[in-house]
């Protein structure tokens, strides 16, 4: 069974009753979610404005392309709308749950793509010619994207959550449903591999210092 195959289903709203999870967390989205459950469109727009960019950034960097990221983002929010009424604040932050849903949808897409094409790395996008510095920046972005996409997906997810999204290793562990030690191992292996893949770009940057 693959690593993904043993992942438990994470997109169910967490249970908050019972003795196993007596602790509660403060959730800045709790009021919005309650309002959305009552059909409040303004609350929905606020939640979308707050979280769509982060979900899009996560999905884009994990999946490597805009179109798939958009579909994942739409799916995440469809689940948000469906889940709002059943959501019980307390154990997990709504944002954490949204990220778990997004990650599971990303994993599903990667798995399906791998089954169809035998690979999960998207073909490089031809950015076309451009002038001077802008071209260089595009080339660097494409190289970094390519390097990220070539990492095993869990390493890529850990790097994206901790480096790009700014979550702590503890928060990333919760989103990925693994131990903090596992996240740190994934981050270390990912960064080590990225140093190898981006050697030329790193040497260029270090030469500028």
């Amino acid at each position: 069974m693959t690593e993904l195959g043993v992942m438990r289903q994470l997109d169910e709203p967490p249970e908050t009753s019972g003795d196993n999870h007596p602790q509660t967390v403060s959730d800045p989205d709790a009021g919005l979610v309650a309002a959305i459950a009552r059909g409040d469109e303004a609350a929905a727009r606020t939640l979308v404005d707050r979280h769509l960019p982060r979900i899009m950034n996560l999905a884009r960097r994990v999946l490597g392309n805009q179109a798939d990221a958009e579909e994942v983002a739409q799916d995440v929010f469809l689940r948000v709308w469906k889940t709002a009424k059943a959501w019980k604040p307390g154990k997990a932050k709504f944002e954490t749950w949204m990220h778990r849903v997004a990650l599971n949808l990303c994993y599903d897409r990667i798995r399906k793509k791998r089954e169809v094409t035998g690979k999960d790395i998207p073909d490089p996008i031809d950015e076309g010619p451009g002038p001077g510095k802008a071209l260089h920046q595009k080339q660097v972005a494409a190289r970094v994207d390519e390097a990220l996409q070539s990492l095993p997906e869990r390493q890529r997810v850990a790097i994206t959550l901790c480096h790009h999204q700014g979550y702590t290793n503890i928060e990333a562990a919760e989103m990925m449903d693994v131990s903090v030690e596992a996240v740190e191992s994934l981050l270390a292996r990912g960064r080590r591999q990225l140093r190898v893949l981006l050697r030329a770009e790193l040497d260029h940057l270090l030469g500028e210092h």
Binding site: G39, R45, P53, R61, A141, L194
Partner: protein, 153 residues
């Protein structure tokens, strides 16, 4: 004295890989020990500089593009207690894309779509132009495929 007060270069490099180059993200005692090491180790400073360069490179990774049409599609998926008709969906998309037309409600759309229907009906022929109009109409109002295939009731 604990282990972190005399941090080795190997330990420092391991922590750099696990926590990144921003010492603020490290545990306080480990960050303090790392600063002590950095004060007298050129190799540690070099390792930190390389980690900072990698961090800078990673910042160049493309972001997701959040555009108005995507936001509209996301918001249009929100159920509002009304029957999920094509008119309601179209109304929501229009209100998200052009919020200044907050007065635009399904009733207005009914009138508009009736007018559009009369126009399409009056000009409908079997030409490619009428097919195109029908496609656009179906797209704008997100009609199910059955509408296009004529299976709709």
């Amino acid at each position: 004295m604990n282990d972190t007060q005399n941090m080795t270069l190997d330990r420092f490099e391991a922590l750099l890989e696990a926590h990144g180059c921003d010492l603020v993200r490290w545990q306080a005692d480990e960050a303090a020990a790392a600063r002590q090491l950095l004060a007298h180790s050129a190799l540690a400073r070099s390792a930190l500089q390389e980690a900072e360069s990698l961090s800078q490179l990673l910042d160049a990774a493309p972001k997701g593009d959040v555009h108005a049409a995507l936001t509209a599609r996301v918001l249009a998926g929100m159920p509002d207690g009304e029957a999920a008709s094509p008119l309601n969906v179209a109304s929501k998309v229009l209100r998200v894309l052009w919020p200044q037309f907050g007065w635009l409600r399904p009733a207005s759309l009914v009138a508009a779509s009736l007018a559009a229907g009369l126009y399409v009906g009056a000009t409908a022929t079997t030409t490619a132009a009428s097919d195109q109009q029908a496609d656009i109409f179906a797209y704008v109002f997100e009609l199910p495929e059955a509408w296009e295939t004529g299976d709709a009731p």
